[in-house]
């Protein structure tokens, strides 16, 4: 019966979002908060069920594939749902503080965020190539209006660019799905894996289209221009959700497709090297850009572009410890990046601006938010004792075992570059200033809820450094050839 949890974990958040939409409640609306709690409970129940019973399957509408759609919850999906639940719940707490008083915007945030939560769970559970397209669209179309919540002129043009490129990416992906359906006659990930012909033009073109589409959605280097304005311009809880979860969904799909249907084409040597090279380029270029940004939220946004590159480093390695390293990096980055954005949001909320050069001497008034920023950036830099360090260790170990020196160099240089842009911010915080940081308007101290949610997420990113064993046993072995 526990496999009924799968559809529930999709529809509870969706229906909660609908209820909030109908009830029209504000920031503290009981409907929204109980919706968040219920979704959190369902997600945790699902993760525990997967933990105890292994992978769960649920054929929707009673029709087995290839006719119907199958929901599939394995270790990878469970971990991503756990990440969504934990980061989502804490960001929701922050949103209660951030949107207090602005009831109309708060209602839109709650509706869209709960719908987004449901679609993220749907995406992680989906084991059907076309259903992945629909959930990918759902996730994007929930994310873009969230960016619009800020209502400023930049956020309008940012969301327009985001929409255009997101549609472009999804349609490329759909082109690939069309070709694969033509060849295999089915959309179920596992069946495709079995029926896909080994080589030939159609398989190559289909894989290229799907991978290109997902790279656009994941804002990997050549296609990353839409991410910083969108994540930088959005309100803090939104940019936290976008960077930690939405962009991660596209990269997760690359891993899911590698593990399932597209194992053969994606593990072709030159394809794997290309993806690895793109990842390395993302790390280097993203970090360099992050060092040159005048605004704090743009620094953190470019850091997302860089950190996503690490997960792509899995493909040239394609070995069990690299799989665990890439997935664990996804988790650690999700938690740490959410903490960074919330902390940056608190500073913006307090000072009215987030120009890095003018954050001088903000140590005093924003001590806790600055502390959260510092603790979370330890994980971003991959320094011990954080989750980011464990992921870096796993990636380095598998790279060294296979003698891929350019990956070793990229991971190490990536950590140093991350230290570059983090300590650039910290330097201003510690700089001595007589009158404290410059302020655009009367300083409005951040609500306690906002500060403590950022701090909890930051501490969580450190705790991830110690809880690697249970999480990685939940992830299980690298799924070769099966859906």
């Amino acid at each position: 019966m526990s496999d009924a949890l799968l559809p529930l974990s999709v529809f509870v958040p969706l229906l909660a979002g609908v209820c909030v939409f109908l009830s029209g409640g504000g920031a503290r609306s009981p409907v929204a908060l109980s919706g968040v709690l219920l979704s959190l409970a369902i997600s945790l129940l699902l993760v525990m069920a997967v933990g105890s019973q292994g992978t769960l399957d649920h054929a929707l509408a009673g029709w087995e594939p290839p006719l119907g759609i199958r929901l599939h919850a394995d270790g990878l999906a469970a971990l991503m749902i756990l990440l969504t639940a934990v980061v989502g719940a804490l960001v929701s707490l922050h949103a209660v503080g951030q949107f207090a008083g602005k009831s109309e915007i708060a209602n839109r945030f709650w509706t869209l965020w709960l719908l987004l939560w449901g679609s993220l769970n749907a995406l992680f559970l989906s084991a059907d190539l076309f259903n992945v397209y629909v959930t990918l669209e759902l996730v994007t179309l929930a994310a873009i209006p969230l960016v619009l919540l800020a209502g400023s002129r930049q956020s309008v043009s940012a969301s327009l660019n985001y929409l255009l490129l997101a549609l472009f990416g999804s349609l490329l992906y759909l082109g690939g799905v069309a070709l694969i359906y033509g060849m295999t006659g089915t959309l179920d990930l596992q069946l495709i894996g079995e029926r896909l012909p080994a080589g030939g033009w159609p398989v190559g073109v289909a894989t290229a289209l799907i991978v290109a589409g997902l790279l656009v959605k994941a804002a990997i280097v050549p296609f990353h221009f839409w991410l910083p304005p969108a994540h930088g311009g959005a309100p803090a809880p939104v940019s936290a959700l976008l960077s930690a979860l939405v962009v991660k969904a596209a990269v997760y799909l690359l891993l899911r497709l590698w593990a399932g249907p597209l194992q053969l084409p994606l593990s072709a040597p030159w394809v794997a090297q290309l993806l690895g090279a793109l990842g390395a380029a993302a790390i280097i270029l993203g970090s360099i850009q992050a060092m040159r940004q005048p605004r704090l939220k743009l620094v953190v946004a470019y850091s997302t572009v860089a950190q996503l590159g690490y997960i792509l480093l899995f493909f040239p390695l394609a070995v069990a410890s690299a799989w665990q390293g890439a997935v664990y990096h996804g988790l650690a980055h999700g938690v740490a990046k959410a903490a960074l954005f919330l902390a940056a949001g608190n500073m913006l909320y307090h000072l009215g601006h987030d120009r890095v050069a003018e954050l001088r001497g903000m140590g005093r008034p924003l001590a806790l938010s600055l502390g959260a920023f510092a603790i979370a950036s330890v994980s971003i830099m991959g320094l011990p004792p954080s989750g980011g360090f464990i992921a870096k260790w796993l990636l380095l170990q598998s790279a060294l075992e296979q003698g891929l020196w350019w990956i070793v160099a990229t991971v190490l240089v990536g950590g140093l570059l991350a230290a570059g842009y983090v300590f650039r911010v910290m330097r201003y915080a510690f700089m001595e200033a007589h009158a404290g940081p410059s302020v655009d308007r009367a300083p409005t101290p951040a609500q306690p809820l906002m500060v403590w949610s950022a701090l909890t997420l930051a501490v969580l990113s450190i705790v991830l450094g110690f809880t690697a064993r249970p999480l990685l046993t939940l992830l299980g072995e690298i799924p070769l050839g099966g859906g």
């Binding site: 001497g361 140590g363 005093r364 502390g371 330890v378 320094l383 011990p384 004792p385 360090f389 464990i390 260790w393 796993l394 380095l396 170990q397 060294l400 075992e401 070793v408 190490l412 950590g415 140093l416 230290a419 300590f423 330097r427 510690f430 700089m431 001595e432 200033a433 450094g465 110690f466 690697a468 064993r469 990685l472």
Partner: protein
């Protein structure tokens, strides 16, 4: 699983937590609750000293202290206490108590004290972690934590110059961290857990992984060399003197620098093992590097006009005595190297306390302002003199004991040229210390010197006296059972019978 024995066995963890929780309390207490902060700091320092004492006694009786926490399959967080650990923990715990008193007095009316003392006890926590680490993985975690905890102290004043130094400090230490990480992960990739086992665990790898082992050794030494201030990597130490006096006294003279040296000792003895290091000819490379650093450090010290920079360069050269002792590998050389770890700590902290007193009371920063300070601040200058003579290795002081054993060890290891290095460094020490003493005692203080400035308050003076007297005692009473020398001989006897 925490039974009675378990709690006792987990003593290293409680030592670590005592200062971690103190750091947390200090951070949360906030800026204005001064009394609470002082009591928390002092209580933590005293508690730690007691715990270390109990642990030391336990190690003497041969009890085992071990705490393991599995992180990844084949990778555990291990805290244990062996004889070598006790050497470093005792030194750190003692000096931390003294420096806390000094720092409380020094930072009387300064801003941001909560931040300072929070990171200060975070530093001591990471030093304890380094000392009690049971394998390379755990060692690396606390090694990097030390970097993160010391950076805020280096830039504590917030002046633009301090920021520039902070950036340089990061470049060195984070760079070193990356190199060290590469070495450790490479070792793990070869299937080695990197546990600290007396005599090393890599013997069997030698035949087919020879070049890899050499590369790993160089990487590890390179990473540790940054903090152990080996020549090409020492640049950060002199400029880090811009930090407040307690920071430069404890961290840059003792904790951070010793962490590097301690790491080198662990790598050579407990990971590679002296025989493998000799087989890879790495011991001669290390010895040459250490000797060059000793000479280079002393030469640069002579040219410095600023007092703290001169002492910093002297630290660069003195720490390499430890590396030299370890590189030679013979039992007597090991004794000389390890005992110098304690002696140099005591002597150098005394010198820095005196420098701090001079700067604080009489505004003295450069050498030529020292004229006639002996009359105005007799006690501080007396301690300075003890420290200076100890550094020069004048018998019967501590410096002489370590140099004596190093010399004997060099002969035992068949490397007579080391004697020349020791002799040369003694001469150079004299060249850069004696003029200071001459100015202090025999020169008339210039008219602009502040006549009224007498000895600093008890908060600054008592710690200086304590460390000065203990530096003296450690030298003279070297033969006694509980002296550092006897403890080191016990270590060498027990763990490294060559």
């Amino acid at each position: 699983m925490l039974t009675g024995a378990g709690i006792y066995q987990a003593l290293p963890l409680w030592v670590l937590l005592s200062s971690l929780l103190a750091a947390l309390l200090v951070f949360l207490a906030g800026e204005d609750r001064n009394r609470l902060r002082i009591t928390v700091n002092l209580a933590a320092a005293v508690l730690k000293l007691l715990l270390v004492g109990v642990m030391g006694y336990g190690v003497l009786q041969g009890h085992t202290f071990l705490v393991t926490m599995p992180i990844l399959p084949g990778l555990d967080l291990v805290l244990h206490a062996d004889a070598l650990t006790m050497l470093f923990t005792t030194l750190s715990a003692l000096l931390w108590l003294v420096t806390t008193i000094y720092a409380i007095a020094y930072l009387e009316r300064r801003p941001n004290r909560a931040r300072f003392f929070g990171f200060f006890s975070l530093c001591v926590a990471s030093t304890m972690g380094i000392a009690t680490a049971g394998n390379l993985f755990t060692f690396f975690i606390f090694y990097e934590l030390l970097t993160l905890a010391t950076w805020p102290l280096v830039v504590h004043n917030g002046w633009p110059k301090a920021m520039a130094v902070g950036r340089m400090y990061l470049r060195y230490t984070l760079g070193g961290g990356v190199v060290l990480l590469l070495g450790i992960v490479w070792l793990a990739a070869l299937g080695q857990s990197g546990d600290f086992v007396a005599g090393g665990t890599l013997e069997h790898l030698a035949p087919e992984h020879r070049t890899a082992l050499i590369a790993i050794f160089l990487l590890l030494i390179g990473g540790l060399g940054v903090k152990a201030a080996l020549v090409p990597l020492h640049g950060w130490l002199p400029s880090a003197m811009v930090a407040p006096a307690p920071v430069s006294a404890l961290l840059h003279a003792v904790a951070v620098v010793k962490a590097g040296a301690f790491g080198v000792v662990r790598v050579v003895y407990d990971v590679f093992g002296t025989s493998l290091v000799a087989d890879l000819q790495m011991n001669t490379v290390l010895a040459l590097l250490a000797s060059f650093t000793i000479i280079y450090g002393s030469v640069r010290a002579i040219a410095q006009t600023d007092l703290k920079r001169r002492l910093a360069y002297s630290t660069v050269s003195q720490v390499s005595y430890i590396t030299l002792g370890v590189a030679l590998g013979s039992p007597l050389a090991t004794i000389g190297g390890l005992v110098h770890l304690v002696h140099q700590g005591l002597m150098k902290i005394t010198l820095f306390f005196c420098a701090g007193n001079y700067a604080e009371n009489s505004g003295i920063h450069s050498i030529d302002e020292l004229n006639g300070i002996g009359r105005r601040m007799p006690w501080t200058t007396a301690m300075f003199t003890i420290g200076a003579f100890g550094m020069m290795g004048a018998p019967p002081l501590a410096g002489f004991v370590s140099k004596w054993y190093l010399g004997m060890g060099a002969l035992q290891a068949g490397a007579p040229w080391v004697l020349l290095v020791l002799l040369g460094s003694t001469v150079l020490n004299a060249i850069y210390f004696l003029p200071l003493l001459h100015r202090a005692w025999f020169r008339e203080s210039g008219e602009k010197a502040i006549a009224t400035a007498g000895e600093p308050g008890p908060g600054l003076l008592v710690p200086t006296l304590l460390t000065g007297i203990s530096a003296l005692g450690v030298g003279i009473l070297a033969g006694f059972p509980l002296s550092p020398l006897s403890w080191v001989t016990f270590i060498v006897g027990q763990e490294y019978a060559p």
